[in-house]
């Protein structure tokens, strides 16, 4: 049982709002009073009252809305004043904090002296906005009740202090109600019941409440310990000009860091490796580990990172380039490092509780996952963090729109919401239909829904004007106008231009009613020779983001199969055709 001192600032939400005690005011949450000033209390406003009733009792009541963040911010000043006496302060809630008195009391000459000093310090900090109250008792619960009465309960007298108090202070409404109907209305009466009987009848909740009532609370204070600075660094003297030397130093540095973290039961999942060269260059990169860094893993990352920096990045910066002797003799190198490393620093950026790990026997994370993760991280070290990616599919119409490339190690979230996995659009061999889905911009919610419903039943070849309505969170957008499966296996990063003409050599376009101006017969890809089109399908048109003039895309897509069996996805935008996809 911990001897505890509690500091209570009454009506804190209103003090934090800057309202003095003589102004009738109340703070409301969910239409109920949660705190009120003494002036309001004098008018009959109590906690739990509805707003209308509170205003009925006190018509000039100032209504404040509950803002826990503001309360907590304002309470920091009080906590700061208390923390001057001991670093271990538990902020129970804004308006109430507690500390263990064992050390500070002995230092300041007893509980009374400590309480007087803390009261004086807090009052000074609050400058008359609120009178704080300080109570000392055994355990945080009793200390809080003592603070309400501004009382210092002698050691061992806590049970006697609690005995006459009403049970409703226990904050267990159901239990208190039941006990009340059984004729038990005070803490003392409850505490006199045998503990085993209470546990048997009321379970763990009852047992915990019984311990509180007996004054034998065993909850430890959740006092905030200031976080130690976990970063470690080593100065390299003489400067390390070889990767091996630096990696060796990093290993011993990482050993120390991981030992410190392990002693605290923590593990590091993201570490920043910083290095300085003799010429004052600062190099820094963060590394993430999907589980937890071991010293060897940290040393490995340092090695990869230094290899990446020292190897190959150096380029010639001479102007003009002709006069440069080239290679390492270049007098003006750009990039890379110019000297040995003088300082190596490891900064743990994310530290989590170490929960240990266990490889799965079936499924779950396996050794293969770990091996793959290591290899991919290695390549990231060689080529940079954005060189290794995985793809996430999201919503979209074109084959490239649906893909988002996520650098390895970052959370895989799609760029746009959409059906999780691509499925084939419905519709078999429909002739080119027109106009059915060409809805005007939605005027009302109902018409917007109608346009979406119409568009959803659209078949290939139907023109779709996208609706501006954003879908509700539970509803996944269906992306009408999306191309049916299969998708092109090659999506050129830099789409080559293509010319599409009909049999007479006239360029093919697409009308505003989603029909080709003339049937396409021949194509020339990227300036190549003319090739005959065997069969073709489409066009699929989509007017995307038409409400946004800077990001609007009107596209028509056409599938063509050439005479020798090759198939392409061509797209027309701004009067020009491109190869958007290759069905490789």
């Amino acid at each position: 049982m911990t001897r505890t001192l509690a500091v209570w600032c009454p009506d804190w939400p209103l003090v934090a709002a800057g309202i003095g005690p003589d102004v009738p005011a109340a703070a409301f949450h969910a239409n109920r009073v949660i705190a009120c000033t003494s002036a309001a209390r004098a008018e009959g406003v109590v906690r739990g009252l509805r707003r209308r009733e509170a205003q009925g009792r006190c018509p000039e009541l100032v209504v404040e809305h509950h803002d826990p963040a503001r309360d907590a911010r304002a309470f920091e000043t009080v906590v700061g004043a208390v923390a001057a006496f001991t670093p271990r302060v538990e902020v129970t809630r804004p308006g109430l904090c507690a500390l263990a008195t064992r050390g500070p009391s002995r230092y300041f000459g007893g509980d009374e002296a400590l309480a007087a000093r803390i009261r004086f310090a807090v009052d000074e900090r609050l400058a008359g906005r609120c009178g704080c109250r300080v109570g000392v008792a055994d355990g945080p619960f009793a200390a809080t009740l003592a603070a309400r009465r501004d009382l210092i309960v002698a050691g061992g007298a806590t049970a006697a202090f609690l005995a006459p108090l009403p049970l409703r202070l226990l904050d267990e409404p159901e239990l208190v109600d039941l006990l009340g109907r059984l004729g038990i209305r005070t803490m003392g009466a409850f505490a006199r019941l045998p503990a085993s009987e209470v546990t048997g009848r009321f379970g763990t909740v009852g047992a915990a409440a019984h311990r509180l009532a007996r004054g034998e609370e065993d909850r430890a204070l959740a006092s905030a310990v200031p976080r130690p600075d976990l970063a470690v660094q080593v100065a390299l003297e003489p400067p390390a000009d070889r990767v091996d030397t630096a990696a060796f130093a990093a290993k011993s540095l990482a050993d120390g860091l991981c030992a410190t973290l392990a002693a605290a039961g923590m593990a590091c999942t993201c570490i920043r490796i910083e290095a300085e060269t003799e010429h004052g260059e600062e190099l820094s990169r963060a590394w993430r580990h999907h589980r937890a860094f071991t010293p060897a893993a940290v040393a490995q990352r340092v090695r990869w990172q230094l290899e990446g920096w020292l190897a190959g990045q150096q380029q010639c910066g001479c102007l003009p380039a002709e006069g440069c002797p080239g290679g390492s003799a270049c007098p003006n190198p750009v990039g890379g490092t110019t000297g040995g490393l003088t300082l190596l620093r490891l900064v743990p950026e994310e530290v989590d509780p170490d929960r240990g790990r266990q490889s799965g026997f079936w499924g779950g994370s396996t050794e293969a996952d770990e091996r793959a993760a290591q290899g991919l991280a290695r390549i990231q070290g060689l080529l940079g963090p954005h060189a290794v990616v995985t793809a996430v599919l999201g919503g979209g119409r074109g084959p490239a729109d649906q893909v988002r490339l996520v650098p390895w190690g970052e959370p895989r979230l799609p760029a746009r919401p959409g059906p999780g996995s691509p499925t084939a659009d419905g519709g078999a061999g429909a002739a080119v239909a027109t106009g059915a889905g060409a809805a005007s911009p939605p005027r009302s919610r109902s018409s917007a829904r109608a346009s979406v419903v119409r568009a959803r039943s659209a078949r290939p070849g139907t023109r779709v004007r996208t609706s501006g309505r954003s879908p509700s969170p539970t509803e996944q957008p269906t992306w009408p106008g999306r191309l049916p499966s299969p998708s092109p296996a090659v999506v050129p990063v830099d789409p080559p231009p293509v010319a599409v003409v009909d049999a007479a050599g006239v360029a093919v376009g697409v009308t505003s009613r989603s029909l080709p101006t003339n049937p396409p017969a021949r194509v020339s890809i990227d300036g190549g020779p003319w090739e005959d089109i065997d069969t073709w399908a489409g066009p699929w048109t989509a007017d995307e983001r038409w409400w946004d003039p800077t990001d609007r895309h009107r596209r028509a897509r056409l599938q063509v199969v050439l005479g020798d069996g090759r198939a392409y996805l061509l797209s027309l935008e701004g009067g020009r055709w491109w190869v958007e996809g290759v069905y490789d």
């Binding site: 419905g426 020339s524 190549g528 198939a567």
Partner: protein, 261 residues
């Protein structure tokens, strides 16, 4: 790992394949440590536009080699193995997902400078189970040999995708697409639905005798590929098609394995 596994089961020596391809490979899977070249023959897309290269990618050839390589990754990634694709910035990832590949097990290294290509592929051979790699234009034969040896040593399957002149020898299996035919579109109606790929299987050892294989890649059925020949494979495809619309089924059961010559 080797200390724990005193014996290696036969099933662990191969990476699983989709049913349509499994019948073609000895052991019904992709042997770990082997080198499987996927290329497109001169027969397909021999038209003048076929070889137009786009950036550092595999180009606009449209011969079907990329789909075939993705098909190899589908079986492996579906069984939880890690796959990597190197040097193919224009890979169609929606198509990969439609073929059934697990994108969370498919790491991509799209842009690699030619001089770092060997290092990157080497590092991947150490860490993942299947590496699909499109080599730069002038890969040295020595580098190719070293990578083949490293793949064999690390038990990783290397799939050089359209490697050009590299790996002209030294591949365990060589899959060459010799023909491709699309079905679905007409004169403006329909859409691309299914394709037939003619694949020649060659290589060394048990794959030395060249065979021809006709693959049907149906649309819509995620994780399924049209059956070729074997009865078991047909059953598997039937099951995979259970959830798909009937009109997306391939038109006729004409697939079979033929022995060339």
């Amino acid at each position: 790992m080797h200390l724990v596994h005193a014996t290696v089961l036969a099933g662990e020596c191969v990476l699983p394949l989709v049913p349509a391809l499994a019948a073609t490979f000895p052991g019904a899977g992709l042997r770990r440590g082997s080198t499987v070249v996927v290329d497109a023959g001169a027969g397909v897309g021999a038209g003048a536009g076929a070889g137009v290269g786009v950036g550092a990618g595999v180009g606009v050839g449209a011969q079907g080699a990329v789909s075939l390589a993705l098909l190899l990754a589908t079986g492996a990634s579906g069984a939880g193995s890690w796959c990597a694709v190197v040097g193919v910035p224009d890979l169609g990832l929606v198509a990969a997902a439609e073929l059934g590949a697990r994108l969370d097990r498919l790491a991509l290294v799209p842009h690699v400078e030619p001089r770092q290509w060997v290092t990157v592929v080497g590092a991947l051979l150490d860490s993942v189970d299947l590496v699909i790699a499109h080599p730069p234009a002038h890969l040295r034969d020595g580098d190719a040999r070293r990578l083949t040896a490293r793949a064999r040593e690390r038990g990783t399957t290397l799939v050089p995708l359209r490697p050009g002149r590299a790996w002209s020898e030294g591949a365990d299996v060589r899959l060459t697409v010799t023909g491709s035919r699309w079905e679905g579109p007409g004169a403006g109606d329909g859409h691309l639905r299914s394709r037939r790929l003619d694949v020649t299987v060659g290589g060394r050892g048990s794959a030395a005798r060249p065979r021809r294989l006709q693959l049907s890649l149906p649309v819509g059925a995620v994780g399924a590929v049209g059956a070729v020949g074997a009865v078991g494979a047909v059953g598997a495809v039937g099951a995979a098609f259970a959830g798909a619309d009937a009109d997306r089924l391939p038109d006729g059961p004409i697939e079979r394995i033929r022995t060339a010559g």
